[in-house]
């Protein structure tokens, strides 16, 4: 599990670059596929038909069938919905937590800042995998456990970034002037801090979403994540792996779906204008 943003821009520029736009299109295509498939081809992703084991595509299953004769398209869409949902929830929660604490620490300074930073550094020192796995041992519902566990791991990145940016900006002349004019903290945050923070947070969010999707798939792949028969990308891969000679395309579909989703997110994260 590669948690944490690897290269956070020190000074991000505004606006979307072409690379980022490509990533966004890719991501939207994946989301559209995940959401529209059940409407266009309504097949139960759990419905088996042992006569169709590893069969090729037909009208009911445009991507063919898996080893239990379940529609690969329906399963893929369901798996993507699950991963994207967990990613969105984890990114949302961790961003809220991290940015909130970050602003608070930078704004208040002093002991509050020191304590929050110490907590963040200590959480960062704990193996992320351990946190996620322990939460999974405590919370019986796996998607919920992923959400909680990953949020606990991912908030640190937002916190560090927000705290650094805000404490730099807060002494800038513009902010000081606004303060002297008597505007409240909320106005200052919206007017001065947010425009500066937003592009950087976007990068962290995209990387966080990629981390989440990769973690869910990886733990599924090593059989400690979601449980069968739930459609999940990593589980689909490990279930279809033994058939790689007989049905290479069946294995390729979750592989490609994972790759395209992660590529989309990485392009959004890394493709900022230099």
């Amino acid at each position: 599990m590669t948690v944490a943003a690897t290269d956070i821009p020190l000074a991000a520029s505004r606006g979307w670059s072409r690379t980022q736009a490509t990533g966004l299109v890719l991501l939207l295509a994946v989301v559209a596929f995940a959401l529209l498939t059940p409407l266009l081809v309504p097949v139960d992703p759990l419905k088996q038909s042992l006569r169709h084991t590893l069969a090729g595509p037909d009208a009911a299953a445009p991507f063919g069938y898996d080893h239990l004769g379940r529609s690969l398209m329906a399963r893929l869409a369901a798996a993507l919905r699950l991963s994207l949902l967990i990613a969105a929830a984890a990114v949302g929660t961790s961003a809220l937590l991290g940015v909130g604490l970050g602003v608070l620490a930078a704004w208040r300074g002093g002991l509050a800042d020191r304590l929050a930073s110490l907590l963040a550094d200590s959480v960062l020192a704990l193996p992320g995998l351990l946190t996620v796995l322990i939460i999974m041992a405590i919370v019986p519902n796996t998607p919920l456990a992923f959400w909680i566990g990953l949020s606990l791991v991912l908030w640190v990145e937002y916190f560090r970034l927000t705290r650094a940016t805000v404490s730099r900006m807060i002494v800038a002349p513009g902010v000081q002037a606004t303060r002297l004019l008597g505007f409240g903290p909320f106005y200052i945050f919206r007017r001065h801090l947010w425009p500066e923070l937003a592009p950087m947070l976007l990068t962290v969010a995209a990387l966080g979403a990629a981390t989440t999707i990769m973690t869910v798939a990886a733990l599924g792949f090593v059989s400690v994540g979601m449980r069968p028969p739930t459609p999940e990308l990593g589980l689909m891969m490990v279930e279809l792996l033994p058939y790689y000679r007989e049905a290479p395309m069946a294995l390729m579909s979750p592989v490609l779906a994972t790759f395209l989703t992660l590529l989309g997110l990485n392009l959004i994260a890394g493709g900022r204008r230099a």
């Binding site: 599990m1 590669t2 948690v3 944490a4 690897t6 290269d7 690379t19 930073s117 110490l118 907590l119 550094d121 200590s122 959480v123 960062l124 020192a125 704990l126 193996p127 992320g128 995998l129 351990l130 946190t131 796995l133 322990i134 041992a137 405590i138 919370v139 019986p140 990629a210 990769m214 798939a217 990886a218 792949f221 090593v222 400690v224 990593g234 891969m237 792996l241 790689y244 592989v255 994972t258 790759f259 992660l262 590529l263 997110l265 990485n266 392009l267 890394g270 493709g271 230099a274």
Partner: protein, 311 residues
């Protein structure tokens, strides 16, 4: 400097406390009976019965209240005693030494491999920011990072071991066993470190003092040695330190695919077998190791570039 060390000491203490609290919660909120879980981990699914669970409960004193168990663990910790694994009966410290060693070797090999690949490419791309190599690096590294590690491992096994028959598919114990798992980890890491190097190098190459150096008539090679490397060093070392720690903890997937006896593998087993002393010991060692590594990085960064005093 003293303030920095003091801060790190506080951090270490908090890490130990966090580990204790998390594992304490785990013991409290278990969906399932701990004695049964341990019996299943010890004797396997063919042999786990209520009788075996009772024997485990009696042997390990699991009837003890959790708060008391937590207190005992912390007391033992103060005496530098991590206890014994409830699954194997071996001292936790011995198990960790063996498994952390295997993980460190693998992570080290991966790190070196990634530097050999990532560093030259990153420098070359950074010196000519916007050139074809730079653009190719952007595309290549983004694509590489979008391949999950387990997928990368699988592709390498099928390609290199099965189709070409060049290297063993999995295993541990001989030098050639290192190559595929290390390469699996290194490819993703190389992509990232090339980007970091490239960004730092591009920044340095565009700086006034670099231009001044060129005026002075220094050659490209001299420039790189005198100004370039030293300036990208700090960024790279900070990044690599972070990555190394993540490699050690995060190789669980690669470890299971390649049958490598590492710490991630041990951690998963310990958590699923409810081997609490093992979970506590492993988490503690990893957490404290991370703190120690960070301290070293701070000191190293200070040494390379004394101007940038970090918190």
């Amino acid at each position: 400097m003293m303030r920095l060390l003091g801060y790190r000491a506080m951090q270490a203490l908090l890490v130990a406390l966090l580990v204790g609290v998390l594992t304490f919660l785990m013991m409290q909120a278990l969906p399932g009976d701990m004695a049964f879980r341990i019996a299943a981990g010890r004797y396997g699914y063919d042999m786990v019965t209520a009788g075996a669970a009772d024997a485990v409960r009696a042997e390990l004193g699991l009837d003890r209240p959790a708060l008391q168990a937590f207190g005992l663990w912390f007391l033992d910790l103060l005496r530098l005693d991590l206890g014994t694994s409830v699954l194997s009966g071996a001292p936790v410290i011995d198990e960790i030494r063996h498994q952390l060693g295997a993980s460190l070797q693998l992570a080290g090999a991966a790190l070196i491999l990634s530097l050999l690949m990532g560093l030259p490419i990153g420098i070359a791309a950074g010196l000519r920011a916007g050139g074809w190599l730079d653009r190719a690096l952007l595309v290549g590294s983004t694509a590489l990072r979008s391949v999950p590690q387990f997928l990368m491992g699988l592709i390498l096994i099928v390609l290199v071991s099965i189709q070409l028959g060049w290297l063993p598919a999995a295993g541990h114990g001989r030098p050639e066993h290192f190559i595929l798992p290390a390469l699996t980890l290194a490819l993703g890491l190389a992509a990232a470190s090339a980007r970091i190097t490239r960004d730092a190098m591009a920044g340095v190459a565009a700086s006034p003092f670099y231009a001044f150096g060129r005026w002075k008539g220094l050659s490209e090679g001299q420039m790189l040695r005198r100004h370039g490397l030293r300036n990208i060093g700090v960024a790279l070392i900070t990044f690599l330190g972070l990555q190394f720690a993540m490699l050690v903890e995060g190789v669980v997937v690669v470890e299971t695919i390649f049958g490598w006896p590492g710490i991630g593998h041990a951690l998963v087993h310990a958590i699923f077998g409810r081997d609490v002393p093992m979970v506590q010991g492993t988490a503690l060692m990893l957490g404290l190791g991370f703190v120690a590594l960070n301290t070293l990085i701070d000191l190293a960064a200070h040494r390379i570039d004394p101007r940038g005093a970090r918190p």
